[in-house]
Amino acid sequence: MGAPSIAPSALQSFLGSTGSDSSQETQLLQLALQIAHNLRYQHNWDDIRIHYDSTTRIKSQPPIRPLISGFPPQRLYVHPDEQIEVLQKQKDEGKAGMPDLPREREWVLPSHLREKWSLRRFGEVFNAISTVPPQEDGEALFDDSKRAAHTKEGGDDSMEGAPTNKWRISQPKRLLLATLDDDSTVVYYIVHDGIVKPRQN
């Protein structure tokens, strides 16, 4: 009977670097890191950063909940009017289908299934964030130097062009609510700060 094979997994080593006290702050930080790991490896997000300073403005929620921001591999949300505009432009140029829209940086709010959210809490989170996550703010979590070079090869220069999208600025703020369950399922929902026109398709 040899020694049992209980080598820690990659996620465990990643989380273990935060320390092992079980205070609420550490728990929230580990939750954020676990969701960041899921985004990076399961959904191939780029340039994932963790932000602490925006959450200090949430005064009524004393434990600081770090927020994540990153680049999804495709655009996550297309406003219906923007969709119609793009389709019309495609038709004018004689092409069919939808072009690949430049991707935009998104906020991610980490949460756990057993937490209860209320409108007030959501409102406070929205008050604390800006419409577009800042490019250079926060701490980068993964060493993506090889991946960044690879995506730039594909002609993807959307990282500079995203903030000038008029749809992003004129619409209400949005974030991605990432809810973790203990069996490692992460469920993502897009949350807007206000009413938005619903999409037909």
């Binding site: 997994s9 990659a10 996620l11 989380l15 069919a96 490692s184």
Partner: protein, 482 residues
């Protein structure tokens, strides 16, 4: 003795199969044989006695020999080396990192979930497929079939959006008086026929595997295509049909997680050897699954994630006892975890575990159901064989007298009553995905007066719980007359 013969009547000529009319031999299925991989429902070995045939006296000898050998030297039903995992307090779950153990636990009973996959641990395969695709060529993973199907559905929706936007534009022009109404009617007919063709073609692309939730009837109905529409919009139909053909080819070599079987299905290319991917994934067991494997079956050893202080490099770490697991799991079933390891009888871990143990012992395969907004999904044989039939919702029932006393009332964890709208929402979601809602009431006993410092019998505590199930179905008076 009358012998039954197939006598042909003389005036009917039987066509003899000539070589040209013979059917070509059916190609062998290259897909995975799930019945073979998942032949064992639990990670235990059973040794049944051989069958006894009264007409065959040798079977009696065989039966007696096997029975005596079992009496004298009983074969073990448990694996020689138990599977091992560690309890991760950061993620409130048990991780299994050994690939063989992970594969064994998944195959025998569908325990656990791959951290970076939808259910079965397949991250390394998908990552390899992604990197090979970036380099050009390579094998397709099973998730690519899902991606292609979703892409097709997205294109269909965009085309429908464009057509509807055009129709709205035309209507607006008619109202402003700029367009003739007759022309608009013809255009509308053309659009509706295109839409009908698209909606008819679309269901044929439904995936037969467990990743989609469409009934098989839709696939059969969708085969008919209106001929008129093909003339109108040939390019769109053709592109959809071509995608359909290429997608069926993708479905054939369905790969699974282990690299060994993947190399069997496709010839290995030279790039394989220099692609060294560090596995970022592990098999994650929920607390209830881990406790069932450790306490209920006894096939899993759970170790602490960080070794204790007195750990010498050459000593073997000790797994947790069932009592320690009982306390830790109850403590870590809250978020954030409760600071002291006190066990309340209505802890989420205890309620979930009682229901899990109950359904597992009845033979169901129980999987977490957060994707459908309920607690557990019950599968007849497993997720790879069929869709889940039942969706289980667990509610604590405070029926004992203690919980109605003022002290008991304040100690209840779940004190709010669920209202009708909540039940209606849950039922609506389940009927949408064609599952039956089962509301499972777990009768909670009064708080334990057990001293946790001394060893106690976990079974005596679990025995105090009772489980009652109710199936909830919506009844409509005007539709369900018979």
């Amino acid at each position: 003795m009358p012998v039954a013969t197939n006598r042909q009547p003389e005036n009917v000529s039987v066509p003899t199969p000539s070589p040209s009319t013979k059917r070509p031999p059916r190609p062998k299925r290259k897909g995975k044989n799930f019945a073979q991989t998942h032949s064992k429902p639990l990670p235990l070995e059973t040794h049944p006695l051989p069958a006894f045939h009264p007409s065959n006296p040798i079977s009696l000898l065989r039966l007696a020999y096997t029975y005596l050998s079992h009496l004298l030297l009983a074969p073990s039903s448990h694996p020689i080396r138990p599977y091992s995992g560690y309890f991760s307090t950061e993620t409130r779950s048990v991780h299994v990192t050994d690939p063989e153990h992970a594969r064994a636990l998944w195959e025998m009973g569908f325990f656990g979930k791959g951290t970076l996959s939808r259910s079965e641990p397949s991250w390394v395969e998908r990552e390899r497929a992604r990197l090979m695709k970036d380099r050009g060529g390579g094998r397709k993973a099973a998730e690519d079939a899902t991606k292609v199907r979703r892409e097709e559905r997205r294109m269909f929706k965009l085309e429908r959006a464009r057509v509807e936007a055009e129709r709205i534009g035309r209507q607006r022009l008619v109202e402003e008086g700029k367009l003739d109404a007759n022309d608009v009617l013809d255009d509308d007919e053309k659009d509706s026929s295109i839409e009908a063709a698209e909606t008819v073609i679309e269901p044929t692309q439904s995936d037969a595997l467990a990743t989609d939730h469409r009934s098989p009837n839709e696939a059969l109905n969708g085969i008919f295509v209106d001929e008129k529409t093909i003339v109108n919009d040939r390019t769109l139909d053709e592109s959809l049909l071509q995608n359909h053909d290429s997608r069926t080819q993708l479905l054939e070599p369905k790969t699974d997680a282990t690299p060994n079987t993947a190399t069997e299905t496709a010839p290995p290319s030279q790039d394989d050897t220099d692609l060294c991917i560090q596995d970022q994934e592990h098999l994650q067991l929920t607390l209830e699954e881990a406790f069932f494997l450790s306490y209920g079956l006894g096939v899993l050893n759970i170790y602490p994630s960080s070794p204790p202080e007195t750990y010498f490099p050459w000593s073997i770490p000790e797994p947790y006892t069932n009592i320690e697991l009982f306390e830790f799991f109850s403590q870590y079933s809250h978020f954030p975890p409760s600071p002291t390891p006190a066990v309340d009888p209505d802890d989420p871990f205890l309620l979930n575990y009682v229901a899990y143990h109950h359904f597992r012992s009845l033979g169901w395969v129980v999987r977490p159901g957060v994707k459908f907004g309920i607690d557990y999904l019950l599968y007849n044989r497993g997720p790879v064989f069929s869709h889940a039939e039942f969706a289980v919702l667990i509610l604590p029932a405070y029926t004992e007298r203690y919980w109605n006393t003022p002290g008991g009332r304040s100690r209840r964890r779940v004190w709010e009553q669920k209202d009708w709208w909540w039940l209606h929402c849950v039922n609506r979601v389940q009927s949408q995905v064609k599952k039956t809602l089962v509301v499972c009431y777990v009768d909670v006993p009064s708080p334990f007066d057990v001293d946790f410092d001394e060893p106690f019998d976990v079974g005596s505590i679990l025995r105090r719980y009772k489980v009652r199930e109710f199936v909830v179905r919506r009844w409509l008076a005007n539709r369900m007359r018979d």
